[in-house]
Symmetry: C3
């Protein structure tokens, strides 16, 4: 064991899947003011023109001032330094100092708005097909009064946050007073669903986790079904079904939530989550908020950020992680994503 030897662990520059949609923001984050946000290491300016969202490289091609230091008027961003103005396609539409030439442009990225979110595409623009978006229509189906949208910037690589969701066994240890206690002795399965990967836990006749205590009749024994479906690059949908033990299950008993990880840089992530407030939390939004903050902000975030600091610049695999059965789904997701990235690079090199 050697401080110096640790330096020998290999480090890799992050390579991202590009021909895919990344969530850039929740719709509510992008109002009348532009939003400056770095995604996949690229500083972007998101803004709306007649309601329609755009994303352009946040750097004026003239002297490289950030366009986010300028102003938005009539769907056009005017650079705050010398007044060149750009529309959502990145083209210069106003040059106060002379003619507009074709070189006067800043890169623009395909953007769509769906599922209450703004989505961006970094790959080949011609391939930016809206049908390639994952089906998250359940978000739209949640009544607005029950829909909780969260944004949590996290100082960790997005794959560590994928691991966190694909292995819910962590809840028993990291979230013992709220969500934990039912995974350890549950029945686990992992299987494919289309292009996605599913991790599933079932625990019949178990004691309800802390968050359900007092919400269902004593002694609060439940049948607990949860599965997570992962889709590349890091879109995860949890389906959570909890009924008093032996009760018949209806579709109304199933709550879906989104955990979507968009890389900001190789060591930071935009964590987007959507949860539905269950019926038994009807008038209790402060309680629900407190619970989410406990689990997300005070438990998941510090742990995953500490994990990232310990990993530092090292490549994850070069540290030779121990593989447990609980890692099955997470490791499969990592490898599936690796393969997709490798295929994409092979194609673009061809």
């Amino acid at each position: 064991m050697d401080g110096n030897q640790q330096g020998a662990e290999s480090s890799t520059a992050e390579v991202y899947l590009r021909n895919t949609w990344y969530q850039a923001a929740w719709s509510y984050e992008l109002g009348e003011k532009p939003l400056a946000r770095t995604i996949l290491g690229v500083p972007l300016l998101l803004f709306r023109s007649e309601g329609r969202p755009s994303a352009i490289f946040d750097r004026c091609p003239h002297r490289f001032a950030p366009l986010s230091a300028g102003k938005l008027e009539n769907g056009v961003i005017e650079c705050g330094y010398h007044g060149l103005a750009f529309d959502g396609s990145g083209r210069c539409v106003r040059n106060p100092h002379g003619p507009i030439t074709s070189a006067m442009r800043t890169p623009a990225f395909p953007v769509v708005e769906r599922y209450h979110g703004i989505w961006i595409w970094f790959g080949d623009a011609d391939a930016a097909d809206i049908d390639l978006l994952p089906d998250l229509s359940y978000i739209d189906d949640i009544p607005e009064s029950a829909r909780i949208l969260m944004y949590m910037p996290t100082a960790a690589n997005y794959r560590l946050l994928t691991d966190n969701i694909m292995d819910l066994s962590h809840a028993d240890f990291l979230h013992p007073t709220t969500l934990g206690g039912v995974i350890a002795d549950s029945k686990f399965r992992q299987y494919d669903r289309g292009n996605g990967l599913v991790a599933e836990w079932v625990n019949l006749d178990c004691l309800a986790p802390g968050v359900w205590q007092g919400k269902i009749p004593h002694p609060a024994k439940i049948d607990y079904y949860i599965d997570v479906e992962w889709q590349a690059p890091a879109v995860m949908t949890l389906s959570n079904t909890v009924v008093p033990t032996g009760n018949q299950i209806t579709t109304a008993d199933c709550y879906k939530s989104l955990h979507n990880m968009t890389p900001e840089t190789d060591k930071s992530t935009h964590y987007f989550a959507c949860t539905a407030r269950p019926d038994h939390f009807p008038d209790d939004s402060s309680k629900m908020k407190e619970l989410l903050e406990q689990a997300f902000l005070r438990e998941d975030k510090p742990m995953v950020e500490a994990q990232q600091r310990r990993i530092g610049d090292a490549d994850f695999w070069s540290l030779r992680p121990i593989l447990l059965n609980i890692d099955t789904a997470g490791v499969k997701a990592r490898r599936r994503l690796d393969r997709l990235i490798a295929e994409e690079r092979a194609t673009s090199a061809a």
Copy 2:
């Protein structure tokens, strides 16, 4: 457009012109206490001996403690760690532990005091000719009650700050309420003057900028003449003449101001400015100060620092900036300086 591709932009270690005078401070900054300041990446200690300024490398040659952590007495700096003392020539003048040897010295730099400033020379000491100072005697000619000396440390390369002054068109966009509004439709000329470069804007019968509003009779139509003379490495003198439209111009109508950029590091600059309070601001120094702070501190500084952050470690030209006519003078200054640096390096290599 690729976050990774950005890494491919070339980055260069800053090379400075050395056989030239750089302003190290305003005279008022260097009182009885020494002044520690990094210039061209070199940590320096500036201090006075019998009033005469000196500049020595701020590191004791014994154990490398900063001499600025010591004390100045009778024109001699005593290291606070082991008591070796150095005079303004960098020679050790006291060794409490034994004899003084010729190795006991810290580098010293030629320094002169002129135009209310302290000037330093990093090149060949034999070539440090006071006559090579730019002629800034206009600073001495400003009545003391009207002379405003400013020092603004700025986290940006000094060439970005040169660009800022050599292209005053930015005033229309960055300083719209104070200085802007007259450049856009002015007549522009660029020409050489001796070793210097001049950028000139003339706008006859235009509306006075915000700063003049209320100072001259309604409707405040003016004839506006402004030119900037650049001298290497980054000394710029603005000559500003404003008269009510059609008035005869006298030399008294011309106000000169200095904008002088001394590199601290490759990403930070000591910005020295001297302006003259015009006659029509006679008893209104707080108003003048507010105006300068608005333009310098709250508009120029944040924009140029944001520009520097967007450029990061990349070489400016490797980012392929768009060239507009407004960049004529700034680009010429960049190239002139490049040529001077290249010539100096060729000479010293010969």
Copy 3:
């Protein structure tokens, strides 16, 4: 003198002596709660099991969460992320998710507790002989009421702190009001004692330093004897004898103190000190504390940290320090340590 030329100074990755004991903590620092501390660049978790101290690598081998984010129960550290638990030998003793395999371990390091301190060994575990500890039994001999243990983290390489103690002449300049004033005109000797190096200063019939003023009869003339014994890697014992001039010396007049430097990283050090409150400070602990804080915290620490900042990443010798006679002992200690490290590396490479 050139900012760029400074970059040419060579920089070296720190290499440490490994087959030696490093002080990791004072015993009082390691109570019921674990202590996370980086030593020689290795993040460690120190904790007690049935009173006995252990030190393990502070990173879970599963997903690399810091074990210090977990909890200690019954002498076992449970990872806060997924519940794997490790004992003081680094072996996994509980895996809630399946069988325990031999790969489930985190490196552990030999640890002993002696002289009111916790000591750790980074070299070959078989060679971790308790008899290799330096003899610091004088610490145990200090009556508890007079024993003052200090811990001062310092942002400087440990060798700079060794230099500081091996050359006490700095006291005259850095601690003039408390400890200084007797070294300058003392008689200095340097000699070997076993494997150690001794620096000795004797000053007969001198004025007592500030700290003794008012403690001994006017005119406070004293005979002053002080020596420092250095043992690798950076364990230094000061023996301080002060008697009114001409008095007979007894062993009771000699006060010993420890100055022990454990590298945290190549630019930071855990500074452990033990001093004995002399008899003439009997009921005056606040005065003694104030004095130590003045010398350690407000004088030594800022100066050595400033020295480190000026040295930066450069190798100390590449800066060509001037060698004075006062550096004799410090330079010998540096070279002795260099030789020990070189021998160790030669042996391990053989």
